[in-house]
């Protein structure tokens, strides 16, 4: 058993010696929609909203076509609830949610030595850092409806599940500027498997976020003995 373990460690170390670390930074935009199988009232529409996504990225290359990549980013996952009942059609609420997100993906690459395509597949975990709401509410007198604009931070409640996780996948194009630096264009899709809303004993209302992000990245390949 011990011998087997030693052999495995040697194989891994051998691979690591051949491999290459790279780190970088990226930033871009996110588009988030929300899925609810029983979406509230009939006059509520849930629309995607744009947000930002920025952070750091790191990858570990095992061989010319395979790497493991992990990103750590602050991602906005924003969406809008819009009423469209005739006299309430001005009413909406934008949910502006900021998540600390950690995707870990298998990175399959192909192409030439400088310009390469990447297929990315993996999973992510996230933590809901803060939320803000803005929009228009309404009030009523006996004879008329009136409206009020708001834009304010929102406290978390017992209905908010702040840890989430899901699947992530997408594609990227990378271009090596030289031996050390490279640029990348990434398109990823985050698909939550954990509802960010906690329901009740007989009233479950699962709400899942879907986020598409497009980012531009700059990477730095850490030189190793083999690659120098």
């Amino acid at each position: 058993m011990k011998k087997l373990l030693i052999i495995v460690i040697f194989i891994l170390l051998g691979r690591m010696a051949l491999a290459q670390w790279s780190v970088g930074a990226q930033g871009g935009v996110s588009f988030t929609s929300i899925d609810r199988s029983q979406a509230g009232r009939v006059d509520e529409a849930y629309n995607p909203l744009i947000g930002y996504d920025f952070g750091i990225t790191g990858s570990y290359t095992f061989n010319p076509w395979f790497a493991i990549r992990a990103d750590l980013g602050m991602m906005q996952r924003n969406h809008r609830m819009q009423r469209h009942l005739n006299y309430l059609s001005l009413v909406y609420t934008d949910h502006l949610n900021t998540y600390l997100t950690l995707p870990v993906m298998a990175d399959f690459s192909f192409g030439g030595s400088r310009l390469r395509g990447h297929l990315l597949l993996g999973a992510f975990a996230g933590y809901w850092v803060r939320q803000r709401v803005r929009g228009v509410t309404y009030g009523m007198t006996d004879y008329e409806v009136f409206f009020n604009e708001f834009d304010t931070p929102k406290d978390f409640s017992s209905s908010d599940r702040r840890l989430n996780a899901g699947l992530v996948g997408g594609a990227a194009l990378s271009y090596s500027l030289n031996n050390l630096f490279g640029l990348s264009l990434n398109a990823l899709y985050y698909y939550d498997l954990v509802s960010h809303y906690i329901g009740y004993v007989a009233l479950q209302d699962y709400r899942y976020l879907n986020t598409a992000v497009i980012t531009l990245g700059l990477s730095y390949h850490i030189p190793t003995n083999q690659s120098e």
């Binding site: 509230g40 009232r41 399959f108 006996d142 699947l167 996948g169 329901g199 009740y200 007989a202 479950q204």
Partner: protein
């Protein structure tokens, strides 16, 4: 490489199917989905509707999940009882729903539930519960129901001429009015009192808050127009009497069980120079118990027809209220006190029904508010607040408004006179 990618993609697809389907979400506008055939289904439907639509979950301490866990087996037992015997006693259902809804603080709430399988001969009897009213009856200063209190008040005002006051004018009457689908009537007493020093005090008692729908008929020769004329006389006595002759104003909301929000435009707006925020309201914006809209300010604007700056002229405005001042009957003194510095309130802690409502016909508005069959009471009808209101940051549902000067009717041989006398004393000494 291909195999690895395919394997990973299949794993991803497998996980992607892990999203769960939600329960049916009660949306009170979808009446065709309200059908149920068992006591268990009826209870679960009501439980879900209240869970999603009740507007006081932030201040109501009822453990609604515990209610579900505790009562679901008991309603299932009722279904078994029905299978065995062919009926369920309405008394049993009254006890069960009494315990389910008994602790809720919404003092507008009325719960009407139809017994699906009553004892033969008992078919017309409904389960009718008013949790707020039950709470009010427990208060140590409770004397009589709203309708009894109104009758006592009418008796007192009917004999006011023999109570030792100097009365310059006295107009009264019961006036019908129509407002949309609502036909009702309101009783007013407008009395122009004279203090011993000769100064005047215009006084108005209103059996309900229907100032707006009535005064809109000003100038018409209808019975409603006569009511509007009475209100116009009270307002003109306030706005037209020279300061040296006007000692103060009295609005008597005792036994006033509520009505129209827009009345604030007259009872407060008449005295404003610029708009004033009198309260804030919010509504349910999702089925989660804490899923509220943001608070929306409710402003009163200066009235365009009547105006007197009682703040600048330092004219005391006394509002009387008591345990039977409910809904707008208590919101009026609350809001007036909040924005008019010369307001002084006298009487008892009020009823505690402060959440604005919209009629069941407006159920498309929100998750919350009245729902069910309010006409024939088939199945169920729940009358509950559409909005939650806060007054200077405080939600007073189930608590009510505590006036500046407390005088309990029960300490005055159940007489309405000492509270009114206190109003005159305050104005005379102002």
């Amino acid at each position: 490489m291909k195999k690895t990618i395919i394997l990973l993609a299949l794993t991803v697809l497998l996980f992607a199917s892990c999203r769960k389907e939600s329960d049916y979400l009660p949306y009170i506008g979808e009446s065709h989905k309200l059908a149920y055939s068992t006591y268990e289904e009826q209870f679960v439907f009501l439980w879900k509707s209240i869970s999603a639509g009740y507007v006081f979950w932030d201040v109501d301490t009822t453990d609604w999940d515990e209610v579900y866990n505790h009562f679901l087996p008991r309603f299932q037992e009722l279904d078994r009882h029905y299978s065995d015997s062919g009926y369920v006693s309405t008394d049993e259902l009254v006890n069960m729903y009494g315990a389910v809804f008994g602790g809720m603080i919404d003092h507008h709430m009325t719960v009407v539930v139809q017994n699906l399988h009553p004892i033969p001969g008992d078919e017309d009897r409904l389960v009718v519960l008013r949790p707020g009213q039950a709470e009010v009856k427990q208060r140590d200063y409770y004397l009589e129901s709203n309708s009894q209190a109104r009758a006592s008040m009418l008796s007192f005002l009917g004999g006011i001429e023999s109570e030792g006051y100097t009365i310059v004018e006295h107009e009264s009457g019961t006036f019908p009015f129509n407002e949309g689908a609502i036909t009702s009537s309101v009783t007013y007493h407008y009395i122009l009192f004279q203090l011993p020093d000769g100064r005047l005090v215009p006084y108005l008692w209103q059996s309900m808050a229907a100032f707006t729908p009535v005064i809109r008929s000003l100038g018409s020769s209808t019975p409603t127009g006569a009511g509007a004329s009475l209100l116009d006389h009270w307002l003109h006595a306030i706005t037209d009497t020279p300061r040296s002759q006007l000692a103060g104003i009295i609005l008597d909301n005792r036994a006033n069980n509520g009505g129209y929000q827009d009345d604030l435009d007259y009872l407060i707006g008449t005295f404003l120079n610029e708009r004033a925020e009198v309260m804030q309201t919010r509504y349910k914006e999702g089925p989660g118990r804490m899923e509220y809209s943001q608070w929306t300010p409710y402003y009163i604007y200066p009235n365009k027809s009547y105006h007197r700056d009682i703040t600048a002229e330092n004219i005391p405005y006394v509002i009387l209220c008591d345990i039977n001042s409910a809904s707008m009957g208590e919101i009026e003194p609350l809001c007036a006190k909040h924005v008019l510095p010369t307001v002084h309130t006298i009487g008892e802690r009020t009823y505690g029904a402060t959440g604005p409502l919209q009629p069941v016909t407006d159920i498309n508005l929100n998750y919350g508010g009245p729902f069910g069959d309010g006409t024939n009471y088939r199945g169920h009808y729940i009358y509950t607040s559409t909005f939650e209101a806060n007054f200077d940051g405080q939600v007073l549902e189930g608590i009510g408004y505590i006036p500046d000067q407390i005088i309990l009717r029960k300490d005055c041989n159940s007489s309405y006179k000492p509270q009114l006398d206190a109003a005159f004393d305050y104005i005379a000494a102002y």
